[in-house]
């Protein structure tokens, strides 16, 4: 373990993730299971699978935002960072570890909802492509929220608005609506959130250049967040 590594704190951090975003995700999974009990037709394995994919796909952004909202900004605003980083810990490594744990939590959401559906329908649905899509969403939307969180308090809200703007512009462009040059530039400059749906090929798993674009974009967001955490002191932002 290198100096400044927060690996030794992994257990405590996992507990924090399980308690804060974890409980919220558990409540959402429970809500989906409850909805399943209200479905008029009896579930078959195929319909349980469809139900899982439809519900999780519609709310994946909520799960991602719950897992990443205020990751850095809350510690900065509360002043908690002052005690935390007087310890021999690197802020970049600490928040990257926390972000990765969030990814594990988000990945656990799919089998968790599946388990809820199993309890009420007797059928355990699982979808690998759904899980991959959710993780791609986490990389892009969660990466954006983390990057924004290093400088802004309203990180999740701004990340959400950016994702809405990008989705609207992308849909308009895809449907042939006339867009000005700036809007077209925005479509390319903003995170490619559309890959969560369009990059899934015949095999059901993400493939192709669009996927590569998404992965590189997400990695870029993480690099940006780490650069901000390294170069921008945590106490900065105080104004005259």
């Amino acid at each position: 373990m290198t100096r400044g590594s927060p690996l030794r704190y992994l257990g405590w951090m996992a507990r924090d993730v399980a308690v804060r975003p974890g409980l919220a995700c558990l409540a959402i999974a429970g809500l989906f299971a409850f909805i399943a009990t209200r479905m008029p037709a009896a579930f078959t394995p195929a319909s349980a699978h469809d139900f899982l994919v439809r519900t999780v796909s519609q709310f994946d952004w909520v799960i991602v935002l719950i897992a990443t909202a205020g990751l850095v900004s809350w510690d900065r605003a509360s002043g908690y960072y002052r005690s935390l980083f007087s310890q021999p810990v690197s802020p970049g490594a600490y928040y990257l570890q926390r972000w990765l744990l969030g990814a594990v939590g988000v990945a656990a959401f799919v089998p968790l909802v599946g388990l809820g559906i199993l309890l009420v329908t007797g059928s355990f649905p699982f979808s690998g492509p759904l899980l991959a899509r959710l993780l791609l969403k986490y990389l892009l939307l969660g990466g954006l929220t983390l990057a924004l969180s290093t400088v802004l308090r309203a990180d999740w809200m701004i990340a959400f608005l950016i994702s809405v703007l990008q989705s609207v512009l992308y849909s308009l462009d895809k449907n042939g609506a006339p867009l000005n040059a700036f809007s077209k530039l925005l479509i390319h400059a903003l995170p490619p959130f559309q890959i969560g749906t369009s990059a899934f090929g015949a095999a059901g798993y993400p493939t192709g250049s669009e996927l590569t674009h998404g992965l590189l974009y997400g990695a870029g967001l993480l690099v940006l967040a780490l650069a901000a955490l390294t170069l921008r002191p945590l106490g900065s932002g105080g104004r005259a």
């Binding site: 030794r8 002052r82 935390l84 310890q87 810990v89 002191p233 900065s236 105080g238």
Partner: protein, 302 residues
């Protein structure tokens, strides 16, 4: 250990039109083995200075080095025993959990459990160990902050307003704790409004006002002019021969205010006793540090 050279820090508004100078051309060195106080009124720049030493802010001009390294690099590799001005801990954590977490983060390894127990014992938190942070009184929370800061044996300890919210008993105990912190390899920086406390524990006190270092005072070396109260048991007509500048205190015919350096005061007392003056009491009314502080603030009394 700490070297601040011509450090300035300016906070600017987002538009850049407004700016506030929090520190200006501030230079100070703190060696290992020293306990240095930082005194100044609210808004003087004490917290900004501490943030610079911890690497939570970058200076606008000048340089800050800690242990020969950039401040953040030093904190990340060595850790700093740091008590924040306002102790901020997630409110649902218990005292025990808070200290165990910081012990893990502080790389205490196998010694973690023992050090947690020692810190709890030192700060008298035993009866509160299972309480959540949100249930703690202000003074107890401050003691938790102190316990956290002292968990590991750090070479740099920074205490920001350490007696804030402490009752008189714990203020007294705090002095003992700081005195026990002295090590040849360790530097201790204490920012406080409490001049009496700084005078008792610090080797040097840096007085800061409006972001500038006004002066550095060495308490208790006898070179600092002070104000004392002299109380006689009976009237003494020749008091003026011993203390020519003694000022009678209104409504108290046997009490006088006298000023001077320690050597002159001792000579005056010896002369007074030789003149058959009967001394009932002699006590510091304004400490040397307080006097220096008031002078640095531009107030009368210097």
């Amino acid at each position: 250990m700490i070297a601040l050279e011509a450090v300035s820090k300016v906070f600017r508004s987002l538009s850049g039109r407004r700016s506030v100078s929090a520190l200006s051309e501030f230079s100070l060195s703190i060696a290992r083995g020293e306990v240095v106080g930082l005194a100044g009124p609210n808004g003087a720049g004490k917290s900004t200075l501490i943030s610079l030493v911890l690497g939570y802010l970058n200076p606008t001009q000048g340089s800050v080095r800690v242990g020969g390294l950039a401040p953040r690099a030093y904190a990340q590799s060595h850790g700093v025993g740091y008590l924040t001005e306002l102790v901020v801990v997630p409110p649902r954590w218990s005292v025990n959990v808070t200290l165990r977490r910081f012990a893990v983060l502080g790389r205490l390894g196998a010694a973690a459990a023992r050090r947690v127990e020692e810190a709890i014992e030192l700060t008298g938190l035993g009866e509160h160990r299972r309480k959540q942070v949100r249930q703690l009184s202000k003074g107890t929370l401050q003691r938790l902050g102190l316990a956290q800061a002292l968990l590991a044996e750090r070479e740099l300890v920074i205490l920001d307003e350490p007696t804030h919210g402490l009752d008189p008993l714990w203020t007294q105990r705090f002095r003992d704790i700081v005195l026990a912190l002295r090590r040849p390899e360790r530097a201790v920086l204490i920012a406080s409004h409490n001049l009496d406390e700084l005078e008792r524990v610090a080797d040097r006190v840096a007085i800061i006002h409006q972001g500038r270092l006004q002066r550095v005072v060495r308490p208790g070396q006898g070179t600092v002019a002070s104000v004392y109260r002299l109380v006689l048991a009976a009237p003494c007509e020749r008091l003026g021969e011993a203390f020519p500048d003694a000022i009678g205190i209104e409504g108290r015919p046997l009490e006088y205010q006298v000023r001077g350096e320690l050597a002159a005061l001792n000579a005056g007392l010896a002369r007074l006793l030789a003149l058959d003056g009967q001394l009932a009491g002699f006590s510091a009314e304004q400490s040397g540090l307080e006097r220096e502080f008031r002078a640095a603030m531009g107030e009368d009394g210097a």
